[in-house]
Subunit: 354 residues, 2 copies
């Protein structure tokens, strides 16, 4: 049984100690469902290892709080360990400290300690750290998008306690060149597909990525080869070469815009899309988002990496990332979070929501 | 027991029917050793699965005849099959028809049927179709090079009955670029090693290979990427890229010259040699070679692919390729040789040697 009356840092430790590597979230989902079930003013639902809760009053706006229950595989970093003012362990940053804040807010609202000024929804989901097809939030966007509706979504992924707006989109394409095999001792009888890729690399090397302002946040794009492969044998002129290119694009561009741009860059070459995910606008032009920024303090910044906020973006819901923990520590054996930052994020959100 | 009194085509069939995939040449080597042992004027030696024989008179020149006993793996093409005037089976071209001609010449010389005008050496060796370290001729060049000495070596590899002089050298280098890893969403924090390879491919694509005359034969060089590899993951800026380059160089260049040239082409890039074998001059400027060409007829041409003639070249012995069979049929399930060509090569060599 989870005790939601302890502070968010202690609750983080309790959550970290329930191992929940992707695919193995059932026990933690059970505990979350059970803990939320204690508050009669929250309607709690369970769908697989996704747990949702919502208030149902008549306040004019709704804020959605979202976080994933799973972690990357344990790396000798369980159970949690408190060292002075720092809590160590798998998930302390990514993102059981965020989940702890979500649960604390449920307790404070559910118990009437905090008088909420908006309606609230909570989404605890599974399988964020693995392939998108298994992602619990992705499933909800397809099977029950109504449960995600709101005026602002806050994803409590680690942002070091700074509001990070939206996210950039990501597109992966395979640029292929072809040729004709021949023995390398008679190379003129063939056509070298690796040599044919020279202009592909030249265009990438010369490419000037955009720096774009969207709703006051600065997004910095990138177009990069992330892989190249070609060759048959040491004595054969290769007949195929593939350059895998990753385009990270600002949220003023749709997936279609992004693909059209990449096709322009590689005009004249064959190109297959291997992976595409849209960006999400930061939504900081909405009053509710401005109020969040004011309550939290600090200067909001653009989220450059892709996150699940884009899933809200696809539903037309502005979404920001805001949570405790240094994202650079995520997935590392030495993962840790400053106790004070967990408490500060809770305080900031209470200020915003009450 | 091999019967060396039958014609070279029948003898080819008998040799083909003794399976001798690389590493499994013992039985065939036994049969060859035994057959040559019948001629008192030949000194026969055995070293592993290498069999050598030599005449020891006072004729002023010595010609070395060389051929390998092994074949690539059987591909449902044994036993041999005579279809009209064509003999099918594994090794018919590469190179049991050449070995048959060598044995027939041993019989004709050993029995006194042909009065040789030069001294003669025969080298039957193992493991030509596998890695160089196992090659029987290579072993001999290191352990008993004296047994290979002569004024001209004839390697009876398939050349379709045309004298092919010398061979081109081959050099393989890995051209490496490095960078610094970073998340592809923050690519400016890294340095893309694949982009850094753009000039490597550009230089290859723009390269103009030499066409060189050496002792009257035309060699056509080639400088080609035969492999390229780079990439860590779909969201990581790669910190390493390797382009494997194969330089096929005319025999007017030494291995050192070839490497110096490749270093020039890729000036500014790190480069490791992965593989290097020298070419071999055709030696057609020597009288004995000119006599071979005259006896055989036709227009000699340059050998572009690397062959074991280079091993003689390294010992300072001019060497040519001359044997029955279409080299393009080597290693194929449908491998075959025209009976008439086997007989013609025998006739040509008898004319040359008598």
């Amino acid at each position: 049984m989870l005790d939601l009356t302890v502070d968010a840092a202690r609750l983080t430790a309790a959550l970290v100690d329930v191992e929940s590597v992707s695919g193995d979230e059932e026990r933690l989902a059970d505990l979350v469902e059970q803990a939320l079930g204690e508050y009669p003013t929250l309607s709690v639902e369970r769908d697989g290892n996704v747990v949702t809760a919502r208030t149902s009053g008549d306040r004019p706006q709704r804020v959605v709080l979202a976080g994933h229950l799973d972690t990357v595989p344990i790396a000798g970093n369980l159970p949690s360990r408190l060292d002075g003012t720092t809590l160590y362990g798998c998930g302390t940053t990514d993102m059981k400290s965020g989940v702890a804040v979500m649960l604390r807010l449920a307790h404070l609202v559910g118990s009437g300690t905090v008088d909420r000024r908006t309606e609230l929804s909570w989404v605890f989901y599974d399988c964020e750290e693995v392939e998108a097809a298994r992602n619990g939030l992705y499933r909800l966007t397809r099977t029950a998008p109504g449960g995600l509706e709101g005026d602002l979504a806050i994803l409590l992924e680690p942002t070091d306690g700074v509001v990070e707006g939206g996210c950039q989109g990501t597109l992966r394409v395979a640029v292929r060149t072809t040729g004709a095999r021949a023995h390398s001792a008679r190379s003129w009888l063939g056509a070298n597909a690796i040599h044919a890729a020279a202009p592909v690399l030249a265009r990438l090397a010369a490419y000037e990525p955009r720096v774009v302002d969207v709703e006051g946040l600065t997004y910095r794009e990138g177009l990069n080869a992330v892989g190249i492969a070609g060759g048959v044998a040491g004595n054969v002129i290769p007949d195929e070469c593939t350059v895998t290119v990753n385009y990270r694009f600002a949220p003023d561009r749709s997936e279609d815009d992004a693909l059209a741009h990449v096709r322009d860059v590689f005009a004249g070459f064959d190109l297959d899309v291997t992976d595409s995910s849209p960006g999400a606008r930061p939504g900081l032009d909405r009053p509710v988002a401005a109020e969040l920024v004011a309550a939290v303090g600090g200067q909001p910044r653009a989220k450059l990496g892709w996150t699940d906020v884009a899933r809200f973006g696809q539903l037309g819901i502005p979404a920001v990332n805001f949570g405790p923990g240094d994202p650079n520590l995520a997935h590392k054996p030495e993962e840790h979070v400053a106790v004070q930052q967990v408490l500060d994020v809770e305080t900031a959100l209470v200020r915003f929501l009450s």
